[in-house]
Symmetry: C2
């Protein structure tokens, strides 16, 4: 690998992110680029041109994943893939997803300029969709690449304006894959560059995170029912205050999760109180519970433990409790050989890294079901994501791109 | 006092409540009868006719309080007043306020039929307003009777439809009192019959509550500020979770209030979480705190005690706390001589009563500033009020009316 000074990675990346961020820019300085909308189509077309200009072979698959390819000289049936998703949440930032696409393009361009044609094919992908922001379905892009989509899951989905999934896709000139076709079988490894979306790397002063696990997620909606009463005329001893019970429970969740220690996190993010009036003792409280861990057995242990505690609190306060599990997603382990290759690449280049887990979901967890997969994180300033305030110091994402370059070099040129 | 069998109090009361409940009846079986609306005007006109039919002298004051009068034979400068308010909350019940008017009319009618003309004037009042449901101003009726209204407090008030207070009042053919005129100086005593709006009498199997104190109320809005973070990527130890802090506080409020014991009550009825999203650690929580007690010094002690505990919780969780006091209303003591007269009346008639406090505000607390005042409560089934489900067993409110009859007899015929 030549000295990186022969190619100004920072300047190229800063400019490309600025340019890509204009597709779908909102009046609030955010980006709204939902699947198959004009903003999305324009961004993919813009990237297609960029890939061609840079000398890549550019092509779409049936559903609209866009690939930029440099064919290998020797192992033509093996492809090393990098990239991320082009869609955003409503009013999202310019780095979530997009940094992985831009970083991938620049890494491949750098490699080709520095070392010429690789032994294996190298490709960068701008995936159609990951966020689930337009239709209630996530990872549409990566699921199609590895071939695990069922058409009937999608056909009846509608967006907020009542537009059906099929119509939106057909209007954008894309279509379902043939259900009998398998996913791509040439992909040998997948490496995704992404912002951390948390504050750990920044707090610890590291530019690079090498992901070992993506957490599993369990989500619950918990309903506590007591009795609504007049706040003045009901003595404390006569009350069945649903909010008092819920408060004991929410505090218990936080404290037990803290006692379990990292990487377990448990969050109550949403609370609805009924009737929610100053002078009425709350009769009902609904609250969400989100539990995440890298290892399913600990996640299950925590779940059983906290549910039993919540039930005890309900019982002792004479409240009814209903617990509804509406999401259960297993943790994913990254490929240990690939993780080691990224570590070795960082060590070789003197890049400081932290072995860590991802607390958020990523396309990498879909790929990991089919091919050896790994992820490289760069810091998120103040841990902020899904906001126009998303920011990573250019020096940090340059380090991430260098790690990606070195890793792909190991995988495709050797 | 003759035997009550000579006059069917129960039948007369049940029918009158049924009849009055039709003014402003909603499709949800509730009653919406807001100050100076057509429903309100019709109800007052209906009552005016009823009073005339029953042989009372009926008249309005300037603002629309309706009085029914039986002039005394001896002490014409002294009036014994009973009654309550004719307005309701939105979709309220048929007893809150109205029972005190109907009960007062029936009590006076019974007394006249049984004993003829009293020594002192006896009057029943259907007060214009108590709830503050149309305009953000409570006790408009009673405040005008005792003469403590300032015109400038009202003039700029608007209802939910933007209609000004003065216009609404003028359209109903009423007007402000002359600000220089004093309140009525002939009122010697005021006794209000009202539903309890709590569940104490029903739970204790008593038909009558004799109110000794009306609680004071302090209301606060408390704002807890932490930091909103991604629920997956922020380790527990990095969180400044405003909801965790608020939950500890809400539990502490309930537990400390319970430890203080009756009659102290403290209620958190309203909670607003920001951003209130399943997968985001809450950055901000606002919650209400309502503190009530019959004695100001204990209320103040509790307030200081709980505020200091909330501040300690905020400090220990690294959260910011702002406490805004937006209501501070002193407790009111009922007149002890009148309370004794009601007790004696109940004892004489063999009626079972409980000496108690009122946890809700009433017109009686306004009158108590100016004249000896007392209240008689009857049970609220399940403690429910401000709902079409408001219900009191007729046998219970008949007992209440009997106590009222006996009390007014003592005050006006001796």
């Amino acid at each position: 690998m030549n000295d990186v000074k022969t190619f100004d990675i920072e300047k190229t990346t800063v400019e490309a992110i600025e340019w890509l961020g204009k597709f779908g820019k909102t009046s609030d300085n955010g980006i709204t680029r939902l699947l198959y909308t004009p903003e999305w189509i324009n961004a993919q077309k813009g990237l297609e041109e960029l890939l061609r200009d840079k000398g890549f072979e550019a092509y779409y698959d049936e559903v609209g994943n866009l690939f930029g390819r440099i064919e290998g000289s020797k192992y033509k049936e093996e492809t090393i893939l990098t990239g991320s998703h082009i869609d955003t949440v409503v009013n999202g930032g310019r780095l979530d997803g997009q940094l992985g696409i831009i970083g991938g393009i620049i890494a491949l361009e750098y490699l080709k300029k520095s070392y010429g044609v690789p032994l294996r094919n190298i490709e960068v992908v701008s995936m159609a969709e990951e966020e689930g922001s337009r239709f209630p379905y996530t990872f549409w892009g990566s699921r199609n690449i590895i071939g695990t989509v069922k058409k009937e899951e999608m056909e009846n989905l509608k967006d907020a304006n009542g537009i059906g999934f099929s119509k939106a896709m057909h209007d954008a000139a894309f279509d379902f894959k043939d259900e009998n076709s398998k996913g791509r079988e040439d992909i040998k490894e997948f490496v995704e560059l992404h912002i951390e979306q948390g504050g750990v790397l920044e707090k610890e002063g590291k530019s690079i995170g090498i992901v070992e696990h993506i957490v599993g997620q369990k989500r619950y909606m918990i309903e506590i029912e007591g009795e609504a009463n007049h706040a003045g005329t009901t003595p404390m001893g006569y009350r069945r205050d649903a909010l008092f019970g819920a408060s004991k429970m929410i505090a218990e969740i936080f404290e037990l999760a803290t006692a379990y220690g990292d990487p377990l996190v448990a969050t109550v993010g949403k609370v609805e109180v009924t009737p929610n009036t100053t002078n009425v003792v709350p009769g009902k409280v609904m609250f969400s519970l989100d539990i995440r861990h890298t290892h399913e057995e600990i996640s299950l242990k925590f779940r059983d433990d906290i549910i039993s505690r919540l039930q005890n609190i309900a019982k002792s306060k004479k409240l009814d409790i209903k617990i509804n599990n509406y999401m259960d997603c297993l943790p994913t382990e990254m490929d240990s050989r690939l993780v080691k290759k990224i570590k070795d690449s960082c060590d070789k280049k003197g890049l400081k890294y932290k072995l860590m887990h991802s607390g958020a979901g990523h396309d990498a967890q879909i790929f990991a079901k089919a091919v050896p997969t790994a992820m490289i994180f760069v810091p998120s300033h103040n841990g902020i994501s899904h906001s126009y305030e998303e920011f990573t110091e250019p020096k940090d994402y340059v380090e991430g791109i260098k790690a990606l370059i070195e890793t792909i070099y190991c995988l495709a040129y050797n």
